[in-house]
Symmetry: D3
Subunit: 249 residues, 6 copies
């Protein structure tokens, strides 16, 4: 089935992936390439933003006089939606607050239910440690805990359990300080232009455009060196689980 | 091209993999499944045994009166050749001695030259640490150092350099004590019967047959649990380099 | 005093050990040997099951039509009681729920009080990490936090504080993925038959019988290799605290 | 400006450092030298004690008949105040309880507000792990989480955010068991006498005086060996963030 | 004394630093900023290149027909000398060969003697691990072993021993894969232009110019984020020894 | 059999332990307690000093005018012999040189032969890492490699192989910097006076007497805290292999 045909199908019949992002923009910088790649292949890519990053990642807006939390949230939501549209993904916002993010069991189970509804083939989320941002490890913990709940036969026994989708952890801002290490370098050269356009919707964080362009170029150069193939742009991912494979590659 | 056609081709035109084994039997217990799998797919699988394990891994033979080192080496060579035949691989023995193994620069460069001749798509060797056996980390070090030399344009500049074949480290006898962790669980169910037959050639190490059968069953059960697929037998491998990929799986 | 005499004594006068298990069956697979061994030696072995594993570890029961959470809990309780009886231990169930388990401060203090009442010579619980099951690390955290509270002179000052019983962490299902490493290999050959009979009470988890039999055989083989003694079955434990000793062994 | 002049200034105009201590005495044993050093240099050193250590670290008092939690807290508060006075610091007690300590979001934000008010140049707190005391890792987590909240433009947007003060983790009682490693050895020889006097206010923990005197001497000897300078007493600190520097030293 | 005055002094009276580089160009990419910074401050910066990187890091030259090892070495030497001149350092080449590098005890002691002659205030070398290049870890091992020998009173007892200069490990090409983590981010903005000019002498490795420019920008952005100061270009260094300090910063 | 009877027996009939020390004094500071303890219990404790520490650990002697390497070695030998006598052990010096130590295969096999002759119940040596002293990790490597050779049936097949004696690594001077962690705290209170007397033979290293007295007191205090027993002096040891046990303690 061609990509265009795949995209024309109703979501329920398309394979899917799930991206769990702590703040509204995280998924763009860190996983925009994987999202665009899978969307182009006909996947239903669902992005969950646990918060809008309204307090901690909207410095520019807060410098405007008379700014309110509701206006920031609305603007961040709007930006995230535009970025998701460009990348070809759907967006769901949990609005749990940030700095500090707090995840109730209700939110956790809402995410578990989403796993059951989507049955994703793979899951993307944050690194397990981040000394610069405590919402990030919480988001990845929640993403993984909800996955395990969705595997439990006794949780909502009337809904079929999910299997064991692999989880990939995207690159934090300062990888060595977060004890994050790339296990996979994903070639995103073919969708780089989309990722770059998605950057541009994040008006409040212009200084990060160049930073993450350089990240993509460095990971691309490393991918080339680790494979002897031509790769210009790449995204790094750490694996949570061992890969189960028919081949070594 | 079918597997049978592939196997009928001269070695030089077939894709290849390289296995660097410290002692004559290591490749059987630890990588026999991968070897058989790739051999069946038409690959030229070259096994290098740096030593015969004549001193350290032939206890049973040494209990026979009047045993000599030459007889042990010959018997171990014979067994290893039979195992390689069963698995579909070719065998090359460097006869460097064991307990302790010592690798000269000449042997290192012989291995580098083999890399150049074979141009393997992937490389298998031992774990980086092994508190039970110092020949194992040395073998993997040599396998990796020779690979880097074979990449150097100034080493025998008249022979084309190799690319960057990934290196996979097979499971040591006591994995946790060697700080080895499986990054890949390779499904070897389809070739299990061959691996088991190769075990049987190792007459001197019967006690290991059951041990490594259980290893394969445990890794199989884990592979099933990490993938929700049916896997009965598996081999675990640790990656040295990040995987360069077009997909996350 | 003989083992039989010891067992005839009232619990309060016998030495004791405490096992903190997240779900009803965990203690059987992972610590059944140690439990039987200490019970045979006259110890009062108290097993605390924080939950019944009713949601997450009872897949088989949930496949029966019309199953309810109460019926699953009752059946799991029954099984766990039978297993405890076979092993010679007493069972106390906290019924805190699973997937996700949530531990209130009341439950934590109940466990601290149990430490004070039992004054265990040693404590067994789960590994500190488990990417497959978030109830496990929580259980071990609670076991350790309660231990520290029971050491505090100002917590219920009228009840004598406990000393510093060592804590041993039993083997998780996929040890390398949980960064668990055996510091002690405990010879359980003499009680293996009891552990195996305890397995049989876990009707819902037949597939694990063979898995954990192989674990015991592998750890037995490793124990033999690390000691030059004959050991057929063993259980691995990681230490939390350094061993204080009069000898090195 | 001389030290004496600096100390005469109102707090708001002096540079400051923040020390987050789980229990009333922790700051004395572990950071008393750094506190005295910075106080002598004219810094406003603010010590936050999250609890008094009333339950877990006041064994001696609890041995007195008829002791009450309020009397223990008052005595510990008094001691901590005296120690702070000797060291030249100000003390603020959050009275959150200990064994187990529980930190509400209100307490977390109170600490974030203190960061905003103080704008500390550096922050001292506990190690990230402590298998002997779960209040310690909680205290350092709270110290770091509050720091990140105080950096967020949208948290109380009317109050200026703080920059990125480095965080240093002081030495736990059993450093190797807590995976703590000294990145910095701070020469405290010039203020040792003050630290020792502060020890003496901790009447309930006499056995620790000698212990921490030896710690200071060992770290001093190590400082000398790592620098070829004469250092008699030192305190060790682990860094959380990379040092940003104009020189390597 | 002004920088210009300092540079006018004979080497023996100037403070010095020692840089131990495996191949001719390594010091430029990895430590060019620190070298230029210290040279501008009047330090005698001595660079030791253990080899010219003639086999492994001169791919471009080897593509020219009729190339010989001597011509490559001469060209690499020439480039390295030019780069050292631009950065303000002196260069000493040990010509030990590369891929594989082999360090004799004579070479080790030559380096120890250089430590004695220079008495460097600090030492820069490679990361302890590098899965892409085994000459790098060897170079840093030799740099550290020679330093310890130079500290030994019984080695050439007639020459005064050195103290304990700190050792800083510069950033490898793929830092996470080498388990390297920046402990210090050194602001090199003021000398960036010199480092960039030194890049340009490395005609054979043009593809690395951009790569290491991006490295410097990323480390600069991280330095800014970790300090709230304006830093445009930085170099990362890992510490080998704990810092001995009068202040925490 | 009483200790006195045991000591009266010929060495060959007594159980033994083997201590492999890089330099002449290392065994005193680091393992003197264990040595004295086992000697008192009737063990034949054999200490191998690979070198005399003549260059690197004899600073005081080298300050005397006209000192020669032979005189230093003789004096160090004399001291080590006296210390061994006090502790009740026998001493064997390999005289391999220090700073840098170099171990030939002949020396390695000499040690393997000693393993065969002694058949030690346990082995003590240095930590695996030591950034301050490269002879230490080499000594422990050699101790472990020789042990594995002595286990090999084909090495001198006419001499019976040894079993699998556990190896314990004694505490380095700066434990955290060497990634060493005590797995066992051995109570040496009963032999402390002997260890202290052995210190006194090390006239050239007076500054270490106090240092290692404090180490013993700190480890003693920690032993008490980890066991609730009264321990005044202790030595810490890291295990290389998992403990094989009949009990958990």
């Amino acid at each position: 089935m061609s990509d265009i045909q795949a995209q024309a199908q109703p979501d329920a019949q398309r394979p899917s992936i799930l991206v769990v992002s702590a703040h509204a923009a995280d998924f763009v910088w860190r996983a925009g390439g994987a999202i665009a790649l899978y969307a182009e292949r006909g996947y239903n890519v669902k992005i969950v933003c646990l918060s809008f990053g309204e307090r901690g990642e909207s410095a520019k807006m807060w410098r405007q006089p008379g700014m309110t939390i509701e206006r920031v949230k609305a603007a961040r939501h709007e930006e995230a939606q535009q970025a998701a549209d460009i990348l070809g993904a759907t967006l769901e916002c949990f609005d749990l607050g940030d700095y500090p993010m707090r995840v109730t069991d209700a939110a956790l189970l809402r995410l578990a239910d989403l796993y059951r509804a989507l049955r994703p083939e793979l899951v993307l989320s944050h690194s397990r440690e981040d000394i610069y941002n405590f919402d990030h490890p919480l988001a990845t913990h929640v993403a993984q805990e909800a996955r395990v709940i969705a595997q439990a036969h006794g949780y909502k026994p009337e809904v079929p359990v999910i299997g064991a989708p692999p989880v990939f952890l995207f690159e934090p801002h300062q990888p060595e300080q977060c004890n994050w290490k790339p296990d996979v370098l994903l070639d995103i050269s073919s969708v780089w232009e989309k990722k770059q356009r998605a950057f541009a919707t994040m008006a409040a964080q212009e200084h990060l455009w160049e930073y993450y362009t350089r990240v993509a170029l460095q990971r691309g150069a490393q991918a080339a060196r680790n494979s002897d193939r031509k790769v210009q742009y790449a995204e790094g991912y750490a694996r949570v689980f061992p890969q189960v494979a028919q081949s070594l590659s």
